[in-house]
Subunit: 208 residues, 6 copies
Amino acid sequence: MILPTFFMLSFLLTSSSCNALDFCVADLKTPQGLAGYSCKKLELVTVDDFVFSGLHAGNTSNLIKAAVTPAFTAQFPGVNGLGISIAHLDLAVGGVVPMHTHPGSSEIIVVIQGIIDAGFVSSANRVYFKTLKTGDIMVFPQGLLHFQINAGTTPALAYVSFSSPSPGVQILDFALFGNDLPSDIIEETTFLDDAQVKKLKGVLGGTG
Amino acid sequence: MILPTFFMLSFLLTSSSCNALDFCVADLKTPQGLAGYSCKKLELVTVDDFVFSGLHAGNTSNLIKAAVTPAFTAQFPGVNGLGISIAHLDLAVGGVVPMHTHPGSSEIIVVIQGIIDAGFVSSANRVYFKTLKTGDIMVFPQGLLHFQINAGTTPALAYVSFSSPSPGVQILDFALFGNDLPSDIIEETTFLDDAQVKKLKGVLGGTG
Amino acid sequence: MILPTFFMLSFLLTSSSCNALDFCVADLKTPQGLAGYSCKKLELVTVDDFVFSGLHAGNTSNLIKAAVTPAFTAQFPGVNGLGISIAHLDLAVGGVVPMHTHPGSSEIIVVIQGIIDAGFVSSANRVYFKTLKTGDIMVFPQGLLHFQINAGTTPALAYVSFSSPSPGVQILDFALFGNDLPSDIIEETTFLDDAQVKKLKGVLGGTG
Amino acid sequence: MILPTFFMLSFLLTSSSCNALDFCVADLKTPQGLAGYSCKKLELVTVDDFVFSGLHAGNTSNLIKAAVTPAFTAQFPGVNGLGISIAHLDLAVGGVVPMHTHPGSSEIIVVIQGIIDAGFVSSANRVYFKTLKTGDIMVFPQGLLHFQINAGTTPALAYVSFSSPSPGVQILDFALFGNDLPSDIIEETTFLDDAQVKKLKGVLGGTG
Amino acid sequence: MILPTFFMLSFLLTSSSCNALDFCVADLKTPQGLAGYSCKKLELVTVDDFVFSGLHAGNTSNLIKAAVTPAFTAQFPGVNGLGISIAHLDLAVGGVVPMHTHPGSSEIIVVIQGIIDAGFVSSANRVYFKTLKTGDIMVFPQGLLHFQINAGTTPALAYVSFSSPSPGVQILDFALFGNDLPSDIIEETTFLDDAQVKKLKGVLGGTG
Amino acid sequence: MILPTFFMLSFLLTSSSCNALDFCVADLKTPQGLAGYSCKKLELVTVDDFVFSGLHAGNTSNLIKAAVTPAFTAQFPGVNGLGISIAHLDLAVGGVVPMHTHPGSSEIIVVIQGIIDAGFVSSANRVYFKTLKTGDIMVFPQGLLHFQINAGTTPALAYVSFSSPSPGVQILDFALFGNDLPSDIIEETTFLDDAQVKKLKGVLGGTG
């Protein structure tokens, strides 16, 4: 009497779930589509597709004294399509995550260690700015300019969660000064002085 | 004077609709993506992609005296991307659809024949439970535990519609007792007794 | 030792679920928003909000010998926001559901009794037309012109499920001939003859 | 001190943006999926994928004295996935865009030159009809029957924007009279006279 | 025999469409929700809710020699919920729309008169920049920095369409220099010089 | 020359952003709708709506030796509509988060301190189970049964991020044994023994 059960329930499970998408671990070798990557075949998926051990501290020996270590779809294919991802943020003393936006993602920061000044500017041009202590969280709405600064005298650590598995990031200085956007165009559209533009192009590798 | 019309209207139709998605009959041989399958080429699509004759009565000669016959994307590729699917439910006398969830779909049942006890539990932990007569309908919100039981003395038939073309199903007993989830983990996370867990693993084929 | 459990789990449930939307039974007295109605207060919701017994046979003593009895949000507030609804379709001998569209919903018909000719026209101007026998299902993609006709010698019954809790319906003849759209505009935009337009306006109550 | 900056920021950019979808220029050679086409490889994308110069005046030497020149995904792959597209509309004196729907898109018309009578019919069967002067705009909600007519004595020009990159179009007369939908079915489902149906099938190439 | 038809069809229309959302003209006096405003009562809606005549030329007698005249939900409540809106752009000789983003909307520009230099920067830090002639269109993907400049010797006109009925706009200079964001924070997060920041705060009214 | 700029840019900002939704801080006193709460008036919003300091350690002096401290919409109205939220998880030695689902949200756990056994079961009935060390993350797809157990000899801490601002939670034991679901129904739909059901009802307060 038990065999028929197996048959029936297996049928139920097989027929209904074989194309049900509990998840869709990204097959990064497929062409990317609008909604992410195609799914790795289910028989190849293991628990290691859903676990990631690479969120260690980053190297902050750089000009901004900061490092972001991401677990986005490219590093952690298990989040593909699940509407969430996370990154590890290290801010050495004096460290800064420069002004930037995520064009298609909101963000929550949780401060694990240290003190962080964080803020964003709304499209109504208001500033929402606060000093975050260890344990505090702050949310940055999608697409708005925001930043984080180590405001303390010790290294700061934080986790930043995103409402997208692949949150793009547009860093203002790189967008303006780190490519071949002509200087006269930058100056016309930002009102920055020519000397300022050229100075920062020098630092950030911009041409034009 | 008629030829120009043809030209113009054909142009309108061709240019605008050649990549407009009225529908997207699943090409089940393509890799599945987050939003379903790629589309069968339009020139290969026929009315038979939109019609399904396989929703006949299922075989209820099993322990739970129940059968679900689905018309989901895997059986009925025409629903791919259309946000809807349907299944046929047979409940012999004493038949039961055990406690289960659909992780990404709501459901409406319409009772065609017989009497069915149906219910769901909300995440606020309330029970919504009712005896449905022939002709009654009940809606089960997405992701919540629910069940159906033949409450009468004759076989019951019903159609169940889903708000997804590929509604996954997670049957509680199979999730707990029909795989290799270790018994001690089950016991710690469900508070069930060891004897109970092992008894049901015996019935449902679980190991560990 | 049990009290702390209650405290903790109750806290878990209360704090997390008090604004989680398992469901949102429509409060039809609130102003309607883009995403449906506001939610009935949880403490007022009962199982009867999720069960509907009004899907009985409709009265087909009319010109088209057909009746549609809906369980949409207006009749069945429990489906609000759940992406699904259902209706009962009666087609007397000779009965017809005239050419119509649902501007924001796909539809599945399941034939419970009788024989039904059903079809739709794609935006690529192809006809998908089939005679459905009892037990057959057909899917009609969102927004496309479609129809159903009793093709047999006995009354036909069917259930029609929708991918929206409030599927609007635009019946072609009513849209053209049942309002005050000026006859000359109709004629210019449909190429119908003036006599034809005026005849159908007479039948359907159109003016202008 | 600058090299480390480059390393860090490049890392930030590379790791986070390599699978972030700022955009997804359609690779029209890939199979189309539910959410559009797969993306052209980023290294092949140029500004010309985002610029289109083909929205010139169309040829209105046809029966309806109208022409629509689209910039949809098929012509302008850069809009793939961006939720927007546009077309150029020419209406010679006496020109008409016949009654039609877009099954999955709303539309805004802006009149650049001339005078246009435009209208739509809601599913509640009301007519929203107005004479638009140069500079006026009108919005047509998704899925509803609508039309545009040159109401002046000079050619009219307009741009029509859509809330979809691939707005399908279902032209009523073509759907009814320009394919093989059997005449008796048309007559049963539209109440049009047989002579009218056959006359328009003659004009529009319908058979059956 | 006609009365029953009216009854039946009216029933069909009334019961199904009374809460179907063909459209949802914003009632701007209601509190705004996540998905826009509540809907104006249907009996109060007229064609004038869907037509807007205010897209005239703006006044470009200002420092940037540019004006944007919007038809967003606030000005044109008929677009509420329809996923589209439009604006009129005037660029006098030398006029500029400064560097800005739309946090939740893509944009298409169509040049009606004149020559416009337009460009955007991707989150991969590439520049997509082109001189647009009259009749050209360009698409700007959601959330990315972009700009437009009159590149000719005559005034330029354009229409800009958006994939949102309420596309927010974040103008870079205002976000940085037009509010109370402290200068030291700006300098730390943008690497701009103190003199530059203070100069632009002077122009744009910033404090702090 | 500066005043006109102000006028123009202010106009731009005012007219376009006054109903643009950068964010929608929940006004918890409004009726909840399908897409969350109505928005707090912009002039009342401060940075404190976007910062939350209540994610401290919870009290684990309870049977399961665990505590979840949420920052969902009810506690942290700033996340309303932003598609993300977070909670603090404390697991004392021997602590367990029992088997549960989130009907409408995926989850990422990041282990801050200690060792955690975590797992989920797919609807294809496979177990994905792993021991997570400090610094590891794991993702749990929407709607699937999952659990976390302190697997070490010291207290464990973690943050759990969700892809919804209001992730409901359905705890299996409470859904089955903590309400008035009749014991015979539980037994029929779960195959649990009567003694087991009654024992757990005793612990969890269930009746019926």
